[in-house]
């Protein structure tokens, strides 16, 4: 099973997800949040992960950090390979040494994830002491440096999260995330709650940090436009599976999976004025009742018999383009006719 990449993962990969499956026990039917994810995060790249709500975007990020551990309620299979180890096999202090230090995460709502009783500086000092054993004074110097890096005035160190605007909170959260010089940054819709002008600043900041610090970024968003702005490569997630992966340009110019294609055409813009938007009939399937065969087939305009029986694998279609569809590119060809 899995990704049929002939050239197994190149050595330049920092993070590899292999056949990742996550199931949550809920009532009679378990919710299948992730159903066999294969993904390579290359060194220094921004990898965009798009999908609608319930596609499994956040679960995926949480699983990378091995945070999905309910007592008997979560079943996880597969591997998260990092630095020669499977993170899913690590426990207690072993995984805590990696979380926040080597793999850091930035969330959508900073107020929810920052401790309201700690100043920004205390957040940073805690991290530096725990992970790197740095004492207070040098840590304070490092904290000041970090704030400069995210373009915040130094006084913010003394502030609590609630005293800051949304954009400043997100900058502070990024400063905390990069405090220990992580190799991988996970970003879970970090700009969704922000206004466009502030969003732009945060995206620019992330791109700059990527270059300056050599970060590899896994960037999750529901917003195709945002992902288009920031990502080098993009994976499209649907019902817990990656259905298409491509370099940014290829995905937007020549999408192969019907879902990607329809999704792109359903986005309103000035260029679409006067034309009716493409509509994907129906709704995203519930994780407790994912359709058999290709999970998209009930909504797919070109679904054939085969699609409701067999599961299409994610297959390389070109140099850097893979799609999980028996008829890749078919929809576009039909529409063009």
């Amino acid at each position: 099973m899995g990704l049929t990449t002939e050239q197994a993962c190149e050595p330049s990969c920092v993070l590899r997800l292999r056949d990742l499956e996550v199931r949550f026990k809920s009532g009679a039917h378990p919710a299948e949040a992730l159903r066999g994810i294969n993904l390579d995060l290359r060194h220094g790249e921004v990898h965009g992960l798009v999908g609608e709500s319930g596609a499994g975007k956040s679960v995926l990020l949480h699983t990378v950090l091995n945070l999905n551990r309910g007592a008997g309620t979560v079943i996880t299979n597969g591997e998260v390979q990092y630095d020669g180890r499977n993170l899913l096999a690590l426990f207690g202090p072993e995984i805590r040494r990696i979380r926040g230090a080597q793999i850091a995460i930035v969330f959508q709502e900073p107020t929810k994830h920052l401790n309201p009783g700690l100043t920004i500086e205390e957040h940073i000092l805690d991290l530096l002491r725990y992970h790197l054993g740095i004492t207070r004074r040098p840590a304070a110097a490092r904290a000041a440096e970090l704030l400069e890096l995210v373009e915040l005035p130094r006084r913010v160190l003394r502030n609590y999260a609630f005293e800051l605007s949304g954009g400043m909170q997100q900058r502070a959260m990024i400063a905390i995330a990069i405090a220990c010089n992580p190799r991988v940054l996970l970003a879970d819709e970090p700009t969704t709650a922000l206004d466009v002008t502030v969003q732009r600043q945060i995206l620019d900041l992330l791109l700059r940090l990527r270059t300056e610090l050599g970060l590899s970024v896994l960037f999750v968003s529901h917003d195709l436009g945002v992902v288009h702005e920031i990502a080098d490569r993009i994976s499209v997630l649907y019902a817990g599976k990656i259905i298409e992966t491509a370099v940014d340009v290829d995905l937007f110019r020549a999408p192969l999976h019907p879902y990607t294609e329809l999704l792109l055409e359903s986005v309103p813009s000035a260029a679409m004025r006067g034309r009716e938007l493409k509509v994907i009939p129906g709704a995203v399937p519930d994780a407790t009742a994912v359709p058999v065969g290709c999970s998209f087939h009930p909504r797919c305009p070109i679904a054939a018999e085969r699609c409701s029986a067999e599961v299409p694998e994610l297959i390389q279609q070109g140099q850097q383009h893979a799609a999980a569809c028996f008829y890749p590119g078919e929809l576009g060809a039909r529409l063009a006719r």
Binding site: E52, S53, D195, V196, T197, Q199, R200, L203, L207, H222, D223, L224, G225, V226, H228, E229, I230, D232, D248, V249, F252, L262, L263, L264, S266, V267, P268, S269, A270, A271, M272, R273, E276, L277, K278, V279, I280, A283, V284
Partner: protein
Amino acid sequence: MSAFVSVENLSQTYTARSWLRPGLAPTHAVRNVSFTIERNTVMGLAGESGSGKSTLARALVHLERPTAGEVRIGGIPLARLSRRGLRKARRRMQIVFQDPHGALNPRLRIRHSLGEALANAGVPRRERAAHAIQLLRLVGLAPEHLDRYPRAFSGGQKQRIVIARALAGNPEFLVLDEPVSSLDVSIQAQIINLLMDLKQRLGLTYLFISHDLNLVSYVSDTIGILREGWLVEHGPADEVLERPRAEYTRALFGASPSLHRAPRALRS
């Protein structure tokens, strides 16, 4: 003077009174805003959070009486109406809010949610069921949905029901305050198409509020941009998109992510 909706020098100011902190400066949420909307057209209103979009929406249909200025809808000056007159006039104008989950009473079956609206619209009791079915059909839902509770519906379906309810009194003017912002991309398109279709079929006029500039560009005949309560830009959509007058409009559109922009790799 033939404009269907006309707004003149509308201002909404909030004064916080506190004996602990006397002399608090008043908040000017909307400042001296004027515009008109022609019948059966869409005015898009965009701006960042806190720019006064929702305050303007509420003041426009007099959910809150504005501090100053005049609103006329279909020629009727709302400020001169009594409470009862205003309630009657509201049948002709409705608001659809962003969050459909908060807009429907969770303990009422859809039949009753729509029934209340129909009762307010003066539809006799025995005709309400038939009307409710018509309304559901209008928004693409089926009669069997009548006896379900809101929890049985997805976000997109709930928004359809909210739209159906807004249409109960045969309104002519709808204020749509971020009507698709809480919905997924593939569902957004369904609702936008529905709204544009209803506008054509029923001859509706819209004030379409959104922070999403791409969406506003798509739906609008005219576009207004709010900033800190001021209407800094207003004009036909084509003009605003191609030759914005305000520097701020340009900055806003420049910052807005777009699928149609060349990818970053090619830009730099």
